[in-house]
Symmetry: none
Subunit: 196 residues, 4 copies
DNA sequence: GATTAACCGAGACGGTACGTCACGTCTTTAA
DNA sequence: TTAAAGACGTGACGTACCGTCTCGGTTAATC
């Protein structure tokens, strides 16, 4: 999908004038990620990004309309999808999925960025759309895993897998974002006791 | 709870000098709510609140340490807890609870304030604590409802009700905050199909 | 005149709120003059003035609407009117006047500021007015000197002294501003040969 | 003069590669004059000139080193020297000269450009030189007129005609640039009363 | 009744960051 | 080599808020 989109962009863009310097994009995203790590999403200033990247502010604004769009792309560019191999059973697959998911939560990289983007998405439809796409992408392996289980008959055919996926992930996010509660194997066990 | 706290403050503070003018508190909170409604939580400035309330900025800072604390209190002061009468069955109680909850979501009052506070809670422990208390308070009727059901035997004694409550609410919040997906009776039905 | 005006201002200004800090005015004007001396009128930036004066930019903009107004006031605040004692004859008075005037031209302090202000006056009526007042003030001793001479009968009663004053000063300014020609005793002598 | 200079450049430059497009020069000067008329000399940006002329910025910088040089040439290219026919008497010649001069002042074309160039000449020696040449050229008919009068004996042989020319023009410029005073026949009459 | 201390409105203060603009240079493709 | 287009680093612009501070002027409780 993104490959096609990319081709499209390339195809329709034999633009005139000096082309944009790809090294600028890289330097800006790199600087953004560094500063996010150091100081959180709030407290990130475009001035600081420009200075760190060795780039003019206009060069940033030429590429991203808002700070949030920049943060979102920086986050996305860094994203690795969780890979879940088929263990043959739903329980086995979920164990592996949650194992990796908990690692991410504990490592906590970019932990404060998500709240920042949620806030931003309220005011900016572009951020909203990008954030949705980002999350859908993150959820993809979980949906695949559930589809395998449904084919095996481990999950009733009547169950809406999209909703199930949300039920399996939402409580973790809820603690992360809202209550600050613990996110660990105990929570996952109790959650699976309830849902399965 | 807050009444007790308030009493406590009053009790230990028969301070000298001119007492604080209660009308200021009211005017400030009123102005804050108005501006939140008009322009969202971001875009709310202390200068604007002061101007709207006809109050000096210092009068605000004397009462609230940060803008977020002010927003949180403005939000809290407006809060009404959902009341669920005992219908005699879990399903009936949940129907009533979700009915009211969906009303709130659809009405959407203060919908963009929560993301703002989530963001703020990352950087400010006081906001974190107040936000937790606020959410615990909101969740209280749901927990009470579940306890009744567990006593009735409709829910296994081994189930952790706190986690169950989160599972029942989290997916709605997840859509609200993260995916922007639909939050309606269909979602609730599918959710209950999975959980119960 | 200015005393009356000042009284008026004081009388009508028992203003509310924190009064402006007079030390800021002084620091800003001082910094402006320093930077004018170091770098000329162009090349003077508000940022630099603020930094040098140890003052926020808003504190400057609160007082002066434009950079030009600031420069003009800095220049004016530094102004010393030429003093000409009555020597008893027109020729003697003029000798003394031109002596001091040539000193100023040679010393050249603020030499490049005048062109800057002339340019600014084209676009800003306030600068225009202030510049006129400043120049009228500078010309005052020359007009006084000429009035004495007219009373003595050294100048015909029909001569318009304002125009005469301009004729006596304009050629020097003309060289200064337009041709860059020499401004010295020779020029003054030839000028007086023509005019008197 | 400029024709000779131009020939010189052409003669010594049978350069290789694509020759410069003369239409570019015309378009750029045309755009510059238009924008000067519309928005004054300050407020003229190279970006705007390039856009208006349909030309790249580099094409402008290839021809003129600074914005001021461009403005100066645009102004000069538009210049018509005042022509004074010999009326047989100094007074008659001056009447005709001042008549045309006042017309120009009243018409006021490019009136705000001169202050701009004066300002620019302070910082740029090339502009200084070009401005001097431009003014000397403008003054030429006045000097010729005075020379005729001196030959006729209407002006004493001892009078420095260059200084006299400046005395006859400077007061008008003085009002134009510095005081914003009226420039009309009354001023000219009073001026001649004093000088002649 | 006088004193005292905290309150109040207004708004100035030193800062930080904003997003825009223009500068003069550089880098591409096309003529 | 010139041209149009436009990206680039730089740096100033004027604005908006931040949270603190000073004013003159209340408003009670304490002396």
């Amino acid at each position: 999908m993104s490959a096609i989109a990319a081709e499209g962009i390339v195809a329709e863009a034999p633009r005139r004038g000096r082309p944009r310097d790809a090294r600028c994009d890289a330097a800006i995203l790199r600087a953004t990620l560094d500063l996010l790590t150091e100081g959180g999403a709030s407290g990130l200033s475009i001035d600081a990004v420009a200075a760190r990247a060795g780039v003019g502010k206009a060069t940033i604004y030429r590429r991203w309309a808002t700070k949030e769009a920049l943060v979102l792309e920086a986050l996305t560019s860094d994203n690795e999808v969780i890979e879940v191999t088929d263990t043959g059973s739903l329980r086995g697959d979920l164990d592996e999925y949650y194992g990796q998911l908990l690692d991410r939560f504990q490592q906590g990289s970019g932990s404060d960025v998500l709240p920042y983007l949620i806030e931003a998405a309220v005011y900016d439809a572009d951020v909203r759309a990008s954030l949705d796409a980002y999350l859908a992408n993150r959820q993809q392996p979980l949906r695949a895993l559930l589809q395998r289980a449904q084919r095996r008959g481990e999950i009733a055919a009547t169950v809406d897998l999209q909703v199930l996926a949300e039920v399996l992930v939402a409580p973790l996010m809820y603690r992360r974002l809202l209550t600050g509660g613990r996110i660990d194997r105990t929570l996952v066990r109790k959650l699976l006791d309830i849902v399965l």
